[in-house]
């Protein structure tokens, strides 16, 4: 079949043209179907963006596709107003603190533990590792009520670090799993020779493991960043005045129709950051995904 054609096509003067035309014809329906499907996957996000650059009056009177007949309606005034909205700015800062703080902690604690599980020998290690992995599917709902009380007692309620710490704990099982497996796959001789040279474990960890483990660490960091940036439930539970952007927008949802000029641009701002992170580091993201699900 045409689809099984080798990736590198060597033009053959005899049949090249007709074969290529034939291939193109058999592929056309698939191309058309995929163009339609690809559009279906892009249109909602494009629609959100166009809605966000239309004035509220235009959004209330017609669909966002009106921009194709009235391009002059487009305006940055919604965004202008938002960037002068102290509520949104604070929410964005809170989101950044939570996401960055959490990512750093998960990477550091996960790498330390991953190294211990991969290369240190101590009794009970494998059982402990299985125990940590077992925590992977504990739903975070199991911790909401007790931590709500504990946070209240220890003054962590309604703080960005309280929210970040909660995410850290629930990110650790995956972090340990991912990094332990990656570290365990590093060449043994390098570590052995370092140990024979008298390097202690801390030096080995800092000088060898971290640099060599960078691809896995990058995957993990991107995952954690996106996960916490996009979180709603944890922040909704442990934040009151300290709210990341998702919760801030959720507060406006009640007046969906009338606040659309706030909701749409704020939602778009909230997704631009993860989108850029994703597009810039797509490779690592996919690697992490595959490590988490296929390996």
């Amino acid at each position: 079949m045409a689809a099984a054609a080798p990736a590198i096509e060597i033009p053959n003067p005899g049949d090249a043209v007709s074969a290529r035309i034939l291939r193109a014809i058999t592929r056309t329906p698939i191309n058309i179907v995929l163009v339609v499907l690809g559009a279906a996957w892009l249109v909602p996000t494009i629609g959100l963006f166009i809605t966000s650059i239309l004035p509220a009056s235009a959004d209330a009177s017609a669909g966002w596709w009106q921009i194709f007949s009235h391009p002059s309606l487009a305006t940055w005034s919604n965004y202008d107003a938002l960037f002068h909205n102290s509520g949104l700015i604070t929410a964005l800062k809170t989101t950044a603190y939570i996401a960055v703080g959490n990512t750093a902690l998960v990477v550091i604690l996960g790498a330390l533990a991953g190294y211990a599980f991969a290369w240190l020998d101590f009794p009970g290690r494998d059982w402990l590792f299985i125990g940590v992995i077992g925590l992977l599917v504990v739903p975070l709902q199991m911790a909401l009520i007790p931590m709500f009380k504990l946070y209240d007692t220890f003054g962590l309620f309604d703080t960005w670090y309280g929210i970040a710490l909660f995410h850290t704990a629930f990110g650790l099982p995956f972090a340990v799993f991912l990094l332990r497996n990656f570290f365990a796959g590093l060449p043994k001789d390098i570590l052995e020779s370092a140990r024979i040279d008298g390097a202690n474990e801390i030096v080995i960890f800092l000088r060898l493991i971290l640099p060599l483990g960078l691809p896995a660490i990058a995957s993990l960091a991107i995952f954690q960043f996106l996960w916490t940036w996009n979180d709603l439930l944890v922040a909704l539970t442990f934040g009151q005045n300290t709210t990341p952007i998702t919760v801030w927008i959720a507060g406006q949802l009640r007046e969906f129709g009338t606040s659309i000029d706030i909701i749409a641009p704020a939602s778009f701002i909230s997704l631009v950051v993860p989108l850029c992170v994703f597009l810039a580091f797509q490779r690592y993201f996919v690697q992490g995904l595959l490590a988490g699900s296929v390996k």
Binding site: M1, L48, Q141, F170, E201, F205, L233, V294
Partner: protein, 436 residues
């Protein structure tokens, strides 16, 4: 596998200490934020709403969980999610992964489909709320529905029109002139209730045609002018209604001829045999335009949520299955084709069985995700429809932290969710152990 202890390394105690140094921070966090709360929540689920001492209620919270209608709705809805989403996501991901193998712009397509994975389920909820708006003028999905339904059953030119005199009567959607007519007669079909912008642009002053022997003639017009005018009379300033389907019906009510009115509203049925007839304006003239489905209303909210969720996760399935596909031994596929298997047979008998491990990973991952689904429901369902759209995680949040603030039932819901996930945990641990 682990390295053996290096010769001449630290002793048993030393190894404990080094291990503890590396593990302590992570274990501390897991202990305080996961293990302790999990135990607490299990115990808490047997106590009343407010506290422990003197509030032992046994399984009463679990009974509440299975007897309160909003909570049973949540369980039922989650069952629907589990039944539909993992299978759909896996199927869509498989189709995408297989199809993208054959196009040159696979990277662009994959990026487009994968994008929603980077976006928060919350922002997706907002995005789809815009898409799902009921007014076809506002919501893109209903606008598409209107375009499609318009192609098959177009809206009438005068969907709001009403008869101007009682002699025109409604019958099966059409308006029938009660007064019978004969060849040589004139039928006056006056309509009102037509906004000025609904009058067709080609419309001109209405004319009452002169009778013609052997023909039935007449006019369809907007029987209204500024100031009112006299009902049932064609007057200056009243406009003809062009393009309206007029039917000539026999005494038995059968449509014999049909025609369209001209710019001045006149129509002419030529060479009508002697007899008694009625005239009528066809039902299609008054067909209501497509008003849009209430995607976010009580009946469609669950399917709407499922669609949006599948939209998010299809990319995940596509990428994971695509990786499995890329790792598949090509010679097996080639052998199947050489043996004369066609495309479909190869797919069905070779590709899918070989991909089974990957497909089951996607499927299981999706079951876990779907059991814990929260954000998209919170963001996409209007608050008024939470009761209909309820899922376990949403019910847990609202029971424990909003309104009632019932920590007892809230804990029971969390434990129930945990119990649902445990079988999946068993599967996963087995898989991890095999790899470890």
């Amino acid at each position: 596998m682990a390295a053996p202890p290096p010769s001449g390394g630290p002793g048993r105690l030393g190894r404990y200490l080094v291990g503890a140094f590396f593990l302590a921070p992570a274990l501390f966090m897991l202990g305080v934020w996961m293990v302790y709360p999990a135990v607490y929540t299990i115990i808490r689920s047997f106590f009343g709403p407010t506290g422990f001492v003197g509030h032992w209620v046994g399984f009463a919270n679990y009974k509440t969980l299975f007897t309160t209608s909003t909570l049973t709705t949540a369980i039922k809805n989650n069952a629907i999610w589990v039944a539909v989403v993992p299978a759909m996501v896996t199927a869509v991901g498989l189709v995408f992964a297989v199809l993208t193998e054959r196009i040159r712009w696979a990277v662009a397509f994959k990026t487009a489909v994968f994008l929603p994975m980077a976006i928060s389920a919350f922002a997706t909820g907002v995005t789809w709320r815009i898409m799902y708006q009921q007014d076809p003028g506002l919501g893109a999905i209903n606008a598409l529905g209107k375009t499609i339904s318009g192609a098959f059953s177009p809206a009438g030119v005068l969907s709001t029109a009403l008869p101007s005199t009682p002699s025109l009567q409604s019958s099966a959607g059409a308006l029938v002139l009660k007064t019978p007519t004969h060849p040589g007669g004139v039928a006056l079909l006056g309509l009102t209730g037509i906004a000025p912008d609904q009058v067709p642009k080609s419309s001109v002053q209405a004319v009452k045609p002169a009778p013609k022997p052997g023909d039935v003639v007449g006019t369809v017009w907007r029987d209204f002018k500024p100031g009112g005018g006299k009902a049932g009379v064609v007057e200056t300033g009243e406009l003809g209604l062009p393009g309206v389907t007029v039917e000539l019906r026999s005494a038995a009510g059968k449509t014999i001829q049909s025609t369209k009115s001209k710019s001045d509203g006149t129509f002419d049925f030529a060479k009508v045999p002697a007899g008694t007839y009625t005239t009528a304006i066809g039902a299609q003239t008054f067909a209501k335009p497509f008003g849009g489905f209430a995607w976010l209303g009580p009946n469609l909210i669950v399917p709407s949520l499922l669609i949006a969720y599948i939209w998010i996760w299809a990319g995940f399935a596509m990428v994971v299955i695509g990786a499995g596909l890329a790792a598949m031994p090509r010679d097996v596929l080639e052998a199947a084709r050489t043996d004369g298997a066609n495309e479909w047979q190869t797919f069905r008998r070779v590709t899918v069985p070989l991909l089974m491990p990957v497909l089951s990973v996607v499927f299981i991952t999706m079951i876990i995700n779907v059991l814990k689904v929260f954000d998209i429901v919170y963001a996409l369902a209007p608050e008024s429809e939470y009761a209909k759209a309820n899922v376990i995680a949403l019910a847990m949040y609202f029971t424990a932290f909003q309104g009632a603030g019932n920590f007892g039932v809230g804990s029971a819901i969390a434990v129930f969710l945990f119990l649902l996930v445990i079988p999946v945990l068993a599967l996963n641990v087995r898989r991890f152990r095999r790899e470890a």
